[in-house]
């Protein structure tokens, strides 16, 4: 069979350096005498170099590296925690083993271990809201997306009103902070609601997991001020906090609110 018949195969392997030395040599010799095969190779080479120069992609960003490092930290903690639970399960009576196994499942991703290298978004935000920590400088258009989503603050209490809405930045995450004056259990209170987008594993989660009207939320506190966080399937995070409401009252409110993040 002639080389010309198989030139598609040979040209592809030739350019990808997959030919054996003797095959390569044979084709090189053939190319000196066959113009049509030479044209095939030249065409394929032009296509390949056009493609190779076009496919150059952007490099991974520093933000991405940081997020990845945080996820790996979380994975390490989960492994360590599962290991500890597994060990302690051996020491428990039979009936408790199932409960311990369930606890491992429930607590995956929850910061049980106190971990101070980077405080959760929730904790940092509460410090910022209380004035214990300065607000970070938001990126020029950051958070605009969240604000542009236009939340209508119709809390199911007719006397509630919106006090403020502004762009904020927490742990480098752009978001929006909403303030409402509400009446809850007969008391006036100021409720702050933080919305951030593009969360990665465990960035917002802080405190103990519990259920609020069918929704899994986390309840934590910073210097006595409670906060309740919820992360939806689209990685939007919501945090409720108030200096005049208890954790239970906040959970109650979160359970009653339809939380819709920016798309």
């Amino acid at each position: 069979m002639s080389l010309c018949e198989s030139i598609d195969t040979l040209a592809t392997a030739y350019l990808d350096d997959e030919l054996a030395p003797e095959e390569r040599h044979e084709l090189d010799t053939h190319l000196t005498e066959c113009t049509s095969c030479r044209a095939e190779i030249d065409g394929a080479r032009a296509d390949q170099s056009l493609i190779q120069s076009s496919l150059v992609a952007p490099r991974a960003t520093d933000t991405m590296r940081m997020r990845l490092a945080r996820s790996l930290d979380n994975a390490d903690r989960e492994t360590a925690r599962a290991e500890r639970k597994r060990m302690s399960a051996w020491l428990l009576p039979g009936s408790a083993i199932a409960a311990a196994a369930a606890a491992i499942l429930v607590f995956v991703g929850v910061g049980v271990q106190s971990h101070h290298e980077h405080a959760s978004i929730a904790k940092v935000a509460v410090k910022q809201i209380r004035g214990a920590q300065p607000f970070e400088v938001a990126t020029p258009n950051g958070g605009a997306q969240v604000l542009a989503a236009t939340f209508s603050p119709r809390v199911d209490d007719p006397s509630s009103r919106e006090l403020e809405r502004r762009r904020v930045s927490v742990n480098g995450h752009d978001g929006a902070l909403f303030g409402y004056e509400i009446t809850h259990n007969g008391r006036r209170a100021v409720l702050k609601l933080l919305v951030v987008t593009d969360l990665h594993d465990g960035e917002m989660i802080d405190g103990d997991e519990t259920q609020a009207n069918g929704r899994w939320v986390h309840v934590g506190q910073d210097q006595g001020q409670p906060f309740v966080t919820y992360v939806d399937a689209k990685r939007n995070g919501f945090m409720f906090t108030s200096d005049s409401l208890s954790a239970d009252e906040l959970i109650d409110l979160v359970g009653k609110t339809s939380l819709v993040g920016p798309q």
């Binding site: 069979m1 592809t12 990808d16 065409g43 493609i51 991405m64 990845l68 236009t150 819709v260």
Partner: protein, 221 residues
């Protein structure tokens, strides 16, 4: 604890050095920055979980690219579809029961702008390729993997890899040239005339060529 620390540092040294490559491949596979970031994040976490099963003497980059490719093919596409369904469902829900109601379930202006600037000519050209062709071209021309490595990742014979590369390159080069013409970067008569009809001949197969040659080639030498 010591073992865990060692695992982490090994992973950082051997796997994370390929982050740029993996992101590049993911960016061209998913065709947008946000999905690419999620894909790389998911894939590397998976790789970390299965780090113990990585054969230390094999090609780490190829192993990681296999995970990225599998995650993309098996899960990412499916997840993306179900996310679209969820989005539609929750938009409907919001319209009926919202306490905090969003005005529009559509993209915000900022997102629309972003989506636009990201979809450059190359991404549009890639979009026209079937997934299998695109994957083969990315693994070969972008990542420099061998036919054998690509065949292992894509779980197909080397001949199939070659056919996908051959057809994928023709289609992709044709699309790139068409966009270049449309945007006025290249004059129409400079575009390769024969690129208009991508060749759809039989499977390319180096092994078959070699087998045939060894049967008939003896008398020519």
């Amino acid at each position: 604890m010591q073992a865990a620390k060692q695992k982490r540092s090994e992973f950082e040294r051997q796997a994370l050095v390929h982050l740029d490559s993996l992101y590049g491949a993911a960016y061209r596979l998913t065709r947008n920055a946000r999905d690419a970031e999620d894909l790389v994040q998911d894939s590397l976490l998976r790789a970390y979980r299965f780090w113990d099963s990585f054969q230390q003497d094999s090609n780490c980059k190829a192993w990681l690219l296999r995970i990225v490719t599998n995650t993309f093919i098996n899960e990412y596409q499916r997840k993306k579809r179900s996310r679209e369904i969820l989005d539609a469902a929750s938009a409907e829900q919001d319209a009926t029961d919202g306490v905090l109601v969003q005005e529009s379930a559509n993209q915000s202006p900022a997102q629309r702008l972003l989506a636009h600037s990201v979809s450059d000519d190359v991404q549009r050209a890639l979009e026209q390729l079937p997934d299998d062709f695109r994957t083969a071209v990315i693994l070969c021309d972008m990542q420099g993997l061998s036919y054998k490595e690509i065949a292992e990742i894509m779980q197909c014979p080397v001949g199939t890899v070659m056919s996908r590369l051959f057809r994928g390159r023709k289609l992709l080069a044709q699309a790139l040239r068409e966009f270049a013409v449309a945007e006025g970067y290249v004059k129409a008569d400079v575009a390769k005339p024969d690129a208009a009809k991508p060749d759809m001949r039989d499977t390319l197969d180096l092994e078959k060529y070699r087998a045939q040659k060894s049967r008939t080639g003896g008398n020519r030498e």
